[in-house]
Amino acid sequence: MERKEWPLWEVFVRSRNGLDHKHCGSVHAPDARLALQVARDVYTRRQEGVSIWVVQADHIVASDPDAKPELFDPAEDKIYRHPTFYKLPDEVNHM
C-alpha cells in the first residue's frame, strides 16, 4: 500500500475574546477533528487561546507575491485617505 502523508492544516488561534483569530503555524492531521486536537496540543499548551480554527492548507487562496506592486502600490499615493493628511488649526487639530 502506498503510504499517504497526512494533509497539512493551517492553524489560527483567538487568544481571547475581543481579538481576531491569528495564524500561528500548521499541523498535519488526517481529518478536521484530529487537526483541532493536534492544534490544541501543539499551539495552546499554556492557555494561548480560547478558540481555534483549522483550515486545510490547500483550501487557502493566496495573492501572488509578484503581484504586490499592482495590488498594493496604487494605495501608496492616496495619502488623503489618512487623517494625518489634514492639517487643521491647532485649536481643533485633535478632533
Partner: protein, 334 residues
Amino acid sequence: MYTQALDLPQQNPEGRPPSLAENPAWQAEFDAKIDAGGFIEPKDWMPEAYRKTLVRQISQHAHSEIVGMLPEGNWISRAPTLKRKAILLAKVQDEGGHGLYLYAAAETLGVSRDKLTDALLSGRAKYSSIFNYPTLSWADVGVIGWLVDGAAIMNQIPLCKCSYGPYARAMVRICKEESFHQRQGFDALLQLMQGTEAQREMVQDAVNRWWWPSIMMFGPHDSDSTHTGQNTRWGIKRISNDDLRQKFIDATVKQAEVLGVTLPDPELKWNEQRGHYDFGRIDWEEFWNVVNGHGQCNVDRLAARRKAWDDGAWVREAAMAHADKAARRAQAAA
C-alpha cells in the same frame, strides 16, 4: 531546544554560493530587503542557496528538538517526586512541540514532512550533538535544563530576528517557552544542592560531564566556521559562534557560584582587560567525533526514533483510512 552552529562544513555537501545568474533583478530586490532588515516570506522569490540553507538549518533544528526528547524522557518514569515528574513531562512535551513548530516552518520552503523525517531516520540529516551523551543520573536532567537549554537560549534569541519570517516567528514562540526549561533545571539543582553530600556530588558529577559538551553547542571557532559569512549576509546568523559562547560562559560563572558547583575548567578566570572570562581549550576532536556519528548514544538515539516511526505506522495509516472512508460516506450521503 537546541541549535548548535549549523554551518558545519560536512553538513553542506550541496552548498554553493548563491548564483547571481538566477535572476539579477530579483536578486537585487532580495538583497535590498535583507539589507533593510526586512523579512522574506514563503512565496517570495529567494536564491536557491538561501532556501537550501534554511531547509537544512530549520530541519536540523527540528530534528534536534525531537531527538532531544529522548535523553530527558529517559527520566520521566524515575523522577523523584510527582511535582518533578509533571514538570519534566511538560518540558519534554514542549520539545516535541518545538520540533513541530520548526518542521512546519521548514515545510513552508517547499519540502515535505515525510522527506524531512526520512532524512533524520536514514541518518543523512544531522541533529545537535549534545543529545548523543547519556543521562546517567537525575542531576543530569537539572543540568540539561540549566546548561544545555541555557546555551540553546543564547543561540536562539538572535534567530528571533532572522530574515526568514516563518523561522523567526517559530523562534519567538520557542524562546518564550525555553526560559521555563532553564529555570526549572536550575531550580531542581538548587534543591539537590540543599540535600545530602551524595546529592551535591551527583550535581557536581553531572556538571563535570555536561559543561564541555554545552559550550561546544555554539559550534566551531569563528576562524574554522565556513558558512558564517554567507549566513550573516543573509540575516540568518546575527551573532558569531565565539561571541555567543563567550556570552554564555560569562553569564554561567555567576550562576555556578550561586549553585555552589565548580565548572570543570582550571583555566576559567576573569580577564579584566577583555572584560570577559578566559577559558580552556575545547576538545574539538571529541566534538567532530560525536557530530560524525561516534558519540556514546548516536546509534541508540536513531534506533529509538526509527522504532517510534515504525511502531506508529499502523496508527497513521488507520487514521488516514478512517478519514478517507468518512469523507467518501459524507460525499455519498450528500
